[in-house]
């Protein structure tokens, strides 16, 4: 494990904090790390900044992520990685579609040619809206408290996606699935970063698998072609015990 000291923290939204730290390691956009808090547990986290300093942006769900959100500068945590493949960045105009903390892994891609759809359940949970110029950002909230009232795949109907060389998507699987269906219809070039239960992070425990692919090793980023026709994506997944549960999306 690599010992890391939090250098700076920044609150992004309610229960969402970015933790900046030094780590002398080459990382590609879309890769993730396993973060260990001794005595508490270990969870996967995307890197939201991959230069110097690096950062993770954490939304509190359970005990480990809550402890990270409560972290103060000078406090320590332990990491291993980087893991996973990362995004394949092509030059040209890009669109990012991020749902909730999913924006974290997309942020490192953003450049002057990048537009972003940032979505969340409600206004308070939107993050990184200040990282894009106003004319490059589209906001969607499930409850309509800010921007477009509805889900990102619905918002896509209002945009001309043909202007984008490639579209990068990260968020909860139901959102990814709907966006994938829409982009498939539109014949767009796209990559999706998936989140599934992860225990090992190194491709051996099978807890993160989606249709034979290990999200931690062959992913977390998959092309739209890899996901189209995948027998599990958007359909079912295995829980922490390995029990198959269905997403009931169709």
């Amino acid at each position: 494990m690599i010992k890391i000291v939090a250098e700076k923290v920044r609150d992004e939204a309610k229960n969402v904090r970015t933790i900046f730290f030094r780590w002398d390691q080459e990382v590609r956009a879309g890769q993730f790390i396993m973060v260990w808090l001794p005595g508490l547990g270990e969870i996967p986290m995307s890197l939201s900044y991959i230069g110097t300093p690096k950062a993770i942006t954490v939304k509190a769900y359970g005990s480990v992520s809550q402890a990270l959100v409560d972290m103060q500068p000078g406090q320590e945590f332990y990491i291993r990685g980087p893991y996973g493949n990362g995004f394949q960045i092509d030059p040209g105009r890009k669109l990012l579609i991020g749902g909730g903390s999913g924006m974290a892994s997309l942020l490192p891609i953003a450049d002057s040619e990048t537009d972003a759809i940032i979505s969340a359940k409600t206004k308070d949970e939107l993050i990184f809206t200040d990282r894009f110029p106003e004319n490059r950002i589209f906001i969607a909230t499930d409850d309509g408290s800010a921007g477009f009232h509805g889900f990102p795949h619905e918002l896509l109907d209002k945009l001309d996606v043909s202007v984008y060389r490639k579209i990068y998507v990260c968020g909860p699987e139901p959102m990814l699935y709907r966006v994938m269906q829409k982009l498939s219809d539109l014949n767009a070039s796209a990559e999706f970063s998936l989140e599934r239960t992860m225990k090992c992070g190194i491709g051996i425990c099978d807890s993160c698998s989606v249709g034979g692919l290990q999200v931690c090793k062959q992913g977390p980023v998959f092309t739209i072609e890899q996901l189209r026709g995948n027998p599990e994506f958007g359909i079912s997944r295995t829980t922490y015990s390995g029990k198959r549960v269905f997403l009931n999306m169709k």
Partner: protein, 300 residues
């Protein structure tokens, strides 16, 4: 071209390489993919009677090319596992159901279910080193082992493999207790642990785990050699196999087939095809035409 096909306990294998229990085998689609990558057979994750979450992460420590794991026998419970086997069986290759329990009755229930689900054999995990009441605690008691194997053999038709632990003073004694099994699977992981000196703490949530990978290969070779020499029974070798040389070393020590686990971490799923093709070249170079011709040739 050498003939890589072989068989263990009457189960025909296209090549001697199988997926080891606990690695990429809790999800049927993953098992399908492992077979698509060249594995001749897959062994499922060890399944028990009840659903178990296992330990919370960290459940694994990377130690060079080796691993220390304490997954804690997480599994969906036998009743939830039928589907995974059904999916995996679509590949048309043998699927071996691994099971764990603490007494003969439970092992028998589990074995019968695995047979009913269509498994080609049942593998008894008598050797997990890090879960109290299961695995090693069962597998180091010769009387209990004998009872489990005898009872199960009397109830099911598919072959039974007994997977033994290296964490014992005398594996031969346990092997003899399990002699009604159709084959032995040697070895499970070696009890071990890792402390992070900056965190001043064991890393695994369970503190203790099982060492697998290249670190334990010389131990696995020793047990396969010794047990083959002493008992003459069919053996499936497992522990640290990462290259074709490792696979052949196990076979020359007495294994009829081998299993690969940890090397999926270093080499990915392509290891099966890669090792098989290099074994073929080796056999051609060295004048071996069949796997069987290599089994145990190093035994003195």
């Amino acid at each position: 071209m050498a003939d890589l096909s072989t068989s263990v306990a009457g189960i025909r294998l296209e090549n001697p390489l199988m997926l080891a229990s606990g690695i990429l085998d809790e999800n049927g689609y993953t098992m399908l993919d492992v077979i698509a990558n060249g594995a001749a057979a897959v062994v499922t994750k060890s399944i028990g009677l009840e659903e178990r979450n296992g330990y919370s992460a960290p459940i694994i420590v990377e130690y060079g090319d080796s691993l220390i794991n304490a997954v804690g026998l997480s599994n969906p419970g036998i009743d939830n596992f039928a589907d995974e086997i059904r999916i995996a069986k679509k590949a048309g290759r043998p699927v071996i159901g691994s099971i764990f329990a603490s007494d003969a009755e439970s092992f028998t229930k589990l074995g019968m279910k695995m047979q009913e689900y269509g498994c080609d054999a049942v593998e008894l995990n008598l050797s997990c080193p890090h879960v109290k009441g299961f695995g090693l605690e069962v597998g180091s008691d010769p009387d209990l082992v004998e009872e489990i194997v005898t009872e199960l053999k009397s109830k099911i038709k598919v072959p039974v493999f007994a997977k033994l632990s290296p964490n014992v003073s005398d594996m031969i004694e346990i092997a003899k207790a399990a002699e009604k099994a159709d084959a032995y699977v040697l070895i499970n992981t070696v009890k071990a642990m890792k402390i992070d000196i900056r965190a001043r703490s064991p890393i695994l949530t369970n503190v203790y785990g099982g060492l697998s990978g290249p670190a334990i290969k010389p131990v696995g070779i020793r047990y396969v050699y010794e047990v083959k020499k002493e008992t003459g029974k069919e053996i499936i070798g497992v522990g640290g196999i990462t290259t074709y040389e490792d696979a052949i070393e196990y076979i020359m020590a007495g294994a009829s087939a081998v299993q690969i686990g940890t090397a999926l971490y270093t080499k990915g799923k392509s290891i099966f095809r890669d090792v098989a093709s290099k074994m073929n070249t080796f056999m051609d170079d060295e004048g071996f035409s069949r796997i069987q011709d290599m089994v145990g040739v190093a035994i003195r």
